[in-house]
Symmetry: C2
Subunit: 282 residues, 2 copies
């Protein structure tokens, strides 16, 4: 990759910044498919987010911005337009400049999750899902599940308010029975998703009682680090399908690329994501 | 070069942007000396310059900005501090964040010119110099010559006001006899510098009468494109030393690197600039 004055520029904005993977992943993709563009990490504090995002997009050679923690919710009020998924989930993770100059946002975390389910042949249309957590990742996942025809989403979160609000937003926008789960008992669900931070730290309890999972139920643990987590290991010990979070990231890549108009690179990754998997999987 | 979330970020800001060489040159240097940093082109319009420069420096992972046309004079009012050379020349071409958070600017065009003279063994201390042009390049060169002990600088420019103002600023700040040249006659000067655009376009007249150069005089033509220019060719036909502008660019590289605290890379380039010369020289 040689960066010249003609190279198109993308940023990933986050705080902290060190852990972002978008530069490595997308610069590798750009290099593989001959896209003269580069993704650059930009450490932006919450209080500077609005002004910095606008300043970056005033540069005509900047084509897009990836958003990471903590900026995804704030982007909703800076973008001029966004998708229904982003609006209901209350977050944006990608912004582009539309032909009319407006800033358009979308959210691909949840769609990446759906594609990761497809990849693992885990069903969700017409199914009952228990979702552990009601934060940003959970919201993106719940909204994407609802948009893709999941029949019921029960949301369990120790902070009951957040689960209730998320359930109400989804039930309002989609035909899905989205509501608070009064316990984390996984019995009776087709798919149980851990979208909480439980499992990030050593010694965290397993988020629910794996022994109570139905035979034939599937588990998805969105965590990337410390995989396979105790949850994934316990579910697999019961011979259940249990997927770690990596594939969510892999499956998001072509969605971002299409959003930014890089269709050829997107098609390439859809056809063969092995180079990305080699970078992500431990 | 692999860009990760920990990579330090530099920008080159210009309008237009396509012609900037800093990304190629400095990313090559970073790669050669193991500096985990990247230089990115940023196309910024004049009216957005102040706000964008400030926004970029609010990102803690941004360490520096290179400035090119048309932003060098405007940077003087955005920077909190600058060198005497930058102040007298009225332009800044590099900005860094000081430990106290202030933005510090400096101008290396003129010092790069001085080092290019050193490289070509062309003397300037105590000498008489005729400078053709009174624009940004001419100002940077004149100020650096004055700072480095040139005895007399005569400035010739069709727009007489600019030459007079530049001469007055230099005479005020340094012990050099800097003044307007009433003609472009090179007779009597030790060194004649073309810092005007004459020679950029095919069919441009030669900026002064080469036949009138003293025996033993030297010529420096700051132009990079279309080298050797008719001026350089005519002076060489008289067996005079005549240098094209490339080396000014090469010799600036270690100055920028030291300004940004990248001393090891600077020492490497000072020791052996052959990789940079291969990129620049036609």
């Amino acid at each position: 990759m040689t960066i010249t004055g003609s190279t198109r520029v993308y940023f990933v904005i986050a705080d902290p910044i060190e852990q972002v993977r978008a530069p490595e992943l997308f610069n590798q993709v750009f290099s593989m498919y001959g896209v003269d563009a580069v993704v650059i990490p930009m450490n932006v504090k919450a209080e500077d987010f609005d002004s910095t995002l606008k300043a970056l997009f005033r540069a005509p050679n900047v084509d897009g911005v990836f958003l990471s923690i903590p900026h995804k919710p704030a982007a909703l009020s800076v973008a001029d337009r966004c998708s229904k998924l982003a609006k209901v989930a209350g977050a944006i993770n990608a912004v582009r400049r539309a032909p009319d100059g407006a800033l358009e946002g979308d959210l691909f975390d949840g769609l990446g999750f759906i594609k990761a389910l497809d990849n693992a042949r885990i069903g969700y249309a017409g199914k009952r899902v228990l979702l552990i957590g009601a934060g940003g990742a959970a919201a993106a996942i719940a909204v994407a599940l609802a948009a893709c025809g999941t029949a019921e989403i029960a949301i369990f979160d120790p902070a009951g308010d957040k689960a209730a609000q998320l359930g109400a937003r989804i039930a309002d926008a989609f035909r899905t029975d989205a509501h608070v789960a009064t316990s984390n008992d996984p019995a009776g669900y087709d798919l149980v998703v851990n979208a909480s931070p439980l499992g990030m730290k050593q010694g965290d309890p397993i988020p629910f009682d794996v022994a109570r999972l139905d035979a034939g139920a599937a588990v998805f643990d969105v965590l990337m680090k410390n995989q396979p987590t105790p949850l994934v290991r316990a579910a697999r010990a019961r011979a259940l399908i249990a997927e770690p979070g990596f594939e969510m990231l892999i499956q998001q890549a072509p969605l971002y690329l299409r959003f930014f108009g890089l269709d050829e690179a997107a098609a390439g990754i859809e056809n063969d994501a092995s180079a990305l998997r080699e970078m992500i999987y431990p």
